[in-house]
């Protein structure tokens, strides 16, 4: 009786030991598994993307990869898609265990952070091609290009045309956006008409990157900024100067004057389409649903407001990059070169309803040809887009700005809150030796 038990235990021990050693093998091999060469001489390149939850974009990317794999036999790209919420964490974890894929996508403002941390390799030899892309979709750090995206989006004021006409409000144009005074008068007139529950909706219920993306351009339009872009060493004077305080006071007043809800509803775009909102601050991605809705004839896609220093909107969306740990950088760059063709830029931006990043691609996407329905968004991007500060400290700045703006909207003293934000940001830049 005892012997079989011990035999079984011995067998179990061996099995477990085997499992462990196999796991160890797997781990040991994984560092090179992102570029494995098989018997026929084909090197497999792993590629990560954030859009597991976005079927149309993922399908477009998969098509690019399928075309690339069919076009040559030296390299085979393998796509792995992650949900956006856990994507950055996955990349950080992979970088810590030195198992980054060869090709990966990265949210524009994170490029300097990841490049500085040594995750990314410069896109050598692609500069000439990259120069043909919108400047806002190129991720660079220290004078080198590290990432490039297929598309950009533009922030717009999506308004009910009838609300403007009935109240005698001028329809703004790209050459002459609303001024601060005009905007204030427009809000007052629409509110007085009493036809809309929300005169304005800035989508303050959104979380995460939306806050710096959507509201820091307003701060910049007032003449402030997230950080002094000359050397990126301090935010003093730009994030807590008179212009910034003016922005903060104005931002808060939109809620206290009753023009917009302190916190937007669960679906602001739907509220707009349902007639609850007169003016919605939105991305150009809202154009397609609005044109397909019942109020399609009554929607205008207006430029952002000029709050003093010209209208500003955020720039930069998801971009593609090559990791520094890739054992076959030539392969990864070869794929990038292939994938950056105009027809793929056109295909991806068409699938996502976004602005194609090159002129030639724009001509291929319906609506984006010069004079087309969507051409105006491309012009907004060219004219107004300002990329978020290209410093590795950006994630810290973004989180701090979000919290500060939320506090200000909820009634914190503007000067005090902004001073605290500046102190935190400066301390973080300094503790990292200003990322030199």
């Amino acid at each position: 009786m005892a012997l079989p038990t011990r035999k079984r235990l011995a067998a179990a021990s061996v099995a477990v030991a085997l499992a462990f050693s196999l796991a160890a093998c797997g781990k040991g091999a994984s560092s090179s598994s992102d570029a494995q060469t098989d018997a026929s001489g084909t090197t497999t390149l792993k590629m990560w993307t954030h859009n597991a939850g976005n079927d149309t974009e993922l399908a477009a990317i998969n098509q690019v990869v399928a075309d690339y794999n069919a076009s040559q036999s030296n390299y085979k790209v393998e796509v792995q898609a992650f949900p956006q919420d856990s994507y950055n964490t996955s990349v950080t974890a992979a970088a810590a265990s030195k198992s980054l894929p060869c090709i990966l996508d990265v949210d524009g403002p994170n490029v300097p952070n990841w490049a500085w941390a040594g995750y990314l390799a410069p896109l050598d030899g692609l500069d000439e091609r990259i120069a043909q892309f919108l400047p806002s979709v190129v991720g660079s750090f220290d004078g080198k290009n590290y990432a490039v995206g297929y598309y950009d989006v533009a922030l717009i004021m999506q308004a009910r045309t009838s609300a403007l006409q009935e109240n005698g409000i001028r329809i703004p144009t790209i050459d002459q956006p609303w001024t601060e005074d005009e905007f204030a008068a427009a809000l007052a007139a629409i509110k007085a008409s009493g036809k809309y529950e929300n005169t304005l909706d800035l989508q303050t219920g959104n979380t995460g990157e939306w806050w710096p993306y959507a509201y820091s351009p307003m701060l910049q339009s007032f003449g402030g900024d997230l950080i002094n872009r000359d050397g990126y060493t301090s935010a003093d004077g730009v994030l807590n100067g008179p212009a910034a305080v003016q922005w903060a006071t104005w931002f808060r007043s939109l809620a206290t004057d009753g023009y917009m809800p302190l916190k937007s509803g669960a679906d602001p775009a739907q509220d707009f389409l349902n007639g609850k909102t007169a003016i919605l601050y939105n991305g150009s991605w809202g154009a397609e649903p609005a044109r397909a809705s019942a109020i399609a004839d009554d929607v205008s896609f207006l430029p952002a407001v000029n709050l003093g220093q010209g209208a500003k909107i955020g720039g930069g969306s998801w971009q593609w990059a090559v990791s520094s740990g890739c054992p076959s950088t030539e392969g990864a760059l070869d794929y990038m070169k292939f994938a950056l063709q105009d027809k793929y830029v056109a295909a991806v931006s068409k699938a996502t309803g976004t602005i194609p990043a090159t002129d030639a691609a724009a001509a291929m996407v319906p609506g984006y040809e010069p004079g087309g329905d969507n051409d105006i968004f491309r012009q907004y991007s060219k004219e107004f887009a300002l990329i978020r500060p290209a410093t590795p400290g950006y994630p810290f700045i973004a989180t701090t700005f979000t919290k500060t703006a939320q506090d200000i909207l909820n009634g914190a003293d503007p000067q005090e809150a902004l001073n605290q934000a500046v102190a935190d940001i400066d301390a973080n830049q300094q503790s990292n030796n200003n990322f030199q």
Binding site: L9, S13, K403, Q406, N410, N432
Partner: protein, 320 residues
């Protein structure tokens, strides 16, 4: 109880004794040895998981708290002594978070424990349909906290169900989660609602271990309902009480999920807690070292509170 286990598993024999054992007895010992090996094998998976996911991270926290480690950085961590702690104690958000955490614990512990006891007493009766109520009270516990938080976020909206209900009585409800004065109370109510079922079951298990003859003796002595509870039930629940007190306290200190889903610490830091601040600092602000220092302070806080509670409840043991 312990005696029975001891009898079934006597101390292993010494080598001397083994020599004097008969063949039969030796065979018995061998099988006992393999039982021990089997026991080791059964413990190993749990022990390995504990080691990898609890013990090693705790040790790492202790080390990282004294470094300037960053989540993303090309340079490795550097030892900075007590810098993180000096910064921590000068950080206004830390003090707000600490105050919020303590306030939450002070209110949630008696409310949740008391309510759970009331529910347990109500359903500790032998009537038809009592299982239905047990299930209903227990439902929120088996529902994921994230789901519960999302649901309540909708209930609490300015034009949500709760305010619509209040409007029936002519009360103009506040923006529950958007107002610094009501945000923490809203989270507290929702947390109690979610957690009360679990502690009700613990109370119930305590109630059902009370021998029936004690109550019969009480009835003979002419005890009324209140006396029955005060002098029989309450003292008999002493051990259950200690357990519930400590588990609710630790849960209350670890308040995080509701905050993350419902308010993100706002408005104006009125719902920021220590664990929430640690996660935000460590991941959003990428300051691993500083977040570790926060976690270390949190660890010590929970340890001290648990020890004090242990001490207080043990003190009562001695008196009795």
């Amino acid at each position: 109880m312990t005696q029975t286990i001891g009898a079934a598993h006597p101390e292993p024999p010494t080598i001397d004794q083994l020599g004097r054992l008969s063949f039969r007895q030796r065979r018995f010992t061998k099988s006992r040895q393999s039982q021990r090996i089997a026991a080791v094998w059964m413990v190993t998976p749990a022990a390995a998981l504990m080691l990898v996911f609890i013990i090693i991270p705790i040790v790492l926290t202790f080390v990282l708290a004294f470094t300037n480690a960053k989540l993303i950085s090309p340079t490795g961590p550097r030892f900075v002594g007590f810098d993180n702690f000096a910064r921590l104690f000068g950080d206004p958000i830390f003090w707000k978070s600490l105050r919020n955490t303590l306030l939450f614990a002070v209110f949630v512990v008696p409310i949740q424990a008391g309510l759970a006891l009331v529910l347990a007493l109500l359903i500790n009766v032998k009537i038809r349909g009592v299982n239905f109520f047990r299930t209903v009270y227990f439902l929120p516990v088996v529902t994921s906290m994230v789901v519960v938080s999302l649901l309540w976020k909708f209930l609490y909206q300015p034009d949500g169900l709760i305010n619509n209900f209040l409007a029936v009585f002519g009360i103009d409800g506040p923006d529950w989660l958007g107002n610094p004065n009501t945000a923490m109370i809203s989270i507290l109510i929702m947390s109690v609602w979610q957690g009360v079922g679990f502690h009700m079951v613990i109370w119930l298990s305590g109630l059902q271990t009370i021998p029936q003859d004690m109550y019969e003796a009480g009835a003979i002595d002419g005890a009324n309902n209140w006396q029955r509870f005060r002098y029989l039930t309450w003292p008999a629940l002493r051990q259950t009480r200690t357990f519930i007190l400590i588990t609710i306290t630790i849960q209350a200190f670890a308040l995080f999920t509701q905050i993350q889903v419902m308010t993100e610490g706002g408005p104006l830091d009125s719902t920021s807690t220590i664990v929430f601040q640690a996660v935000r600092t460590g991941f959003d602000l990428q300051q691993t070292g500083y977040a570790s220092a926060l976690s270390l302070v949190f660890f010590i806080l929970v340890l001290v509170v648990s020890l004090v509670q242990r001490f207080l409840t043990r003190d009562k043991d001695v008196k009795k």
